[in-house]
Symmetry: C2
Subunit: 337 residues, 2 copies
Amino acid sequence: MSTVTIKLLAEKLQLSTATISKALCDSHEISDSTKKRVLALAEELNYVPNAYAGSLRRNKSKTIAVVIPEVADSFFSLALNGIEEAVLEKGYHALIYLTHEKLDREKAILKELTNGRVDGAIMSVTVETSDADHIREFNKKLPVVFFDRVCNDLDTAKVTTNDFECGYNATKHLIEAGCSKIILLSISNNLSIISERARGFTKAIADHNLNEADCRIIECTEDASCNYELIKEMMLPDNRPDGIIATVEKLTTDIYLACQQLDINIPQQVKVVCFSNQATAIILSPSLTTITQPAFEMGKSAATILLKSLRNNGLIMKEESIVIPSSLIIRNSTINN
Amino acid sequence: MSTVTIKLLAEKLQLSTATISKALCDSHEISDSTKKRVLALAEELNYVPNAYAGSLRRNKSKTIAVVIPEVADSFFSLALNGIEEAVLEKGYHALIYLTHEKLDREKAILKELTNGRVDGAIMSVTVETSDADHIREFNKKLPVVFFDRVCNDLDTAKVTTNDFECGYNATKHLIEAGCSKIILLSISNNLSIISERARGFTKAIADHNLNEADCRIIECTEDASCNYELIKEMMLPDNRPDGIIATVEKLTTDIYLACQQLDINIPQQVKVVCFSNQATAIILSPSLTTITQPAFEMGKSAATILLKSLRNNGLIMKEESIVIPSSLIIRNSTINN
DNA sequence: ACTTTTTACTTAAACGATTAAGTAAATATT
DNA sequence: AATATTTACTTAATCGTTTAAGTAAAAAGT
């Protein structure tokens, strides 16, 4: 019942460990008959090479790290599925680390990972990540690919979606549906994705000559109950918006609940569009207009880029960066009457 | 810029590697002054111990595997968060593997993992997993903790929720709300959780003297569009149910859509309860009665049990098994009038 | 003052693989 | 037939740690 190693195989076959090792990777130095004997015994004894012995010797772990804020919303869930698919295809392994939006966690994780445990990382930064020193330090040793929430002052491949355009189009869509007092619910202006969406929002407001004072950007917090109160307050009659854009999925519930509570009709009194990948968008009442991100593809692309670079020299071409467009799916929450 | 190893520290301080190693783990064999010098240099040079060298030597990887079907629905997402929390707390690492409900994948994953890569596994089996030989084989070498979808013929710790009761209570709730033709939407009777829920369903039907011919169990498939058609067909006027219990979250959308399409009113014509952890249940129209599982806690408990066993001898007490109850949250989809 | 114990190290083997370098026998070349 | 090359191995070093066993000097015990 002891573990089956190359050494054991060697003993049983009266060969050296070198021969076994070479036979197993089909080296030309080994005769066909020996290869067959080795393979047969390996099969019989259920030999599985020790993962770490090889990693240590070759300084390659065949493992990548996925460092993301949470896996709670559907974006990261779907992205993780995409990552796993790419990783599986190439025989790699994926370690998962959640930062819970804490910069300190992100730093600690990256520092520990420079010890050979992984060959590279895919990450989406926390809301707190404003400077990129810790990532740059990591990146001196190992390749990094960003997806979705990127760090722009780091020169590496990034997989993003067209956040600026989406911010613009969502706003334009609301304006065309008749909105003139539009609010963008943000969560952090640190975040690349949010600031891009906000830029698109602002530009659309300007391009369409809306009163800029009526179109504000409101920062929400990490605390769901706070957000609910914030949104309710925002919806008080005196300066109520007629359009809302939520930059993150989880605000959907707060918005719908607040409107229910205050007896405000969507879409008649306020139109709503959310950046969201929720499957339930279609069965909400009214069904929710969303900007749906290509989450799965983004995860898969990021992993593919990283793995490709690992096949070469571990150098990542910034030019590998890719923008995969999201789609505005118009449903009843923004349709007139 | 070369990697900082114990050997390098040893050279710089004119000490042996053994001394460095011992100093770093605060061994009593090393003087305080030496320890200080070592720690200081290690800090200065940003020494991080090579993960695999240690793993190889001690035959411990400080890594566990999470083997689950998908990470698409909110149950597994939340569970993964719980697992990550426990793993983080103990300084472990988590590798994630998705089986995509394929038994072959599950087998291949488990086989590869017997090579020292992980110290144990947490798993929730696929719908195809009817016999447990491959898991038993794995379990001969390494500890396994099941959560949610368990294998009952394996003698190890299991973290489950009270599926039987929940099946019973959901059914009872529908009966008390006036339903008499209740349908349970299943996905596979292989699955421990589903068969338990179905047992509860059947018992409640019997206990309340409902006509058993009117209360069927219908198997859905992996294919979402099929399920939609299936549900639509089921809702045709001739033998339409007045109550539906969905054993998995993803069926929610199909049910609501089918009812919208066929202009069937929930809850007046049909009452619906779903096993679901979706945050949006509350804003559906009507809001959805759910059996909400303690997903986060289940994941965390499973990880905690595994890690605890690893601290000891890697032996898992079946007695560590724990059942964490779900809650029936009654909302408008099952309320009369 | 002598032995014993403790302190603070070092030496060297080990974990399980890979691989450069060496070697003896078989085969090919001239 | 003598030399060169190829084949099919083996030996031994290596990756970066940990740890059992060894050791010399200092401290303690008698």
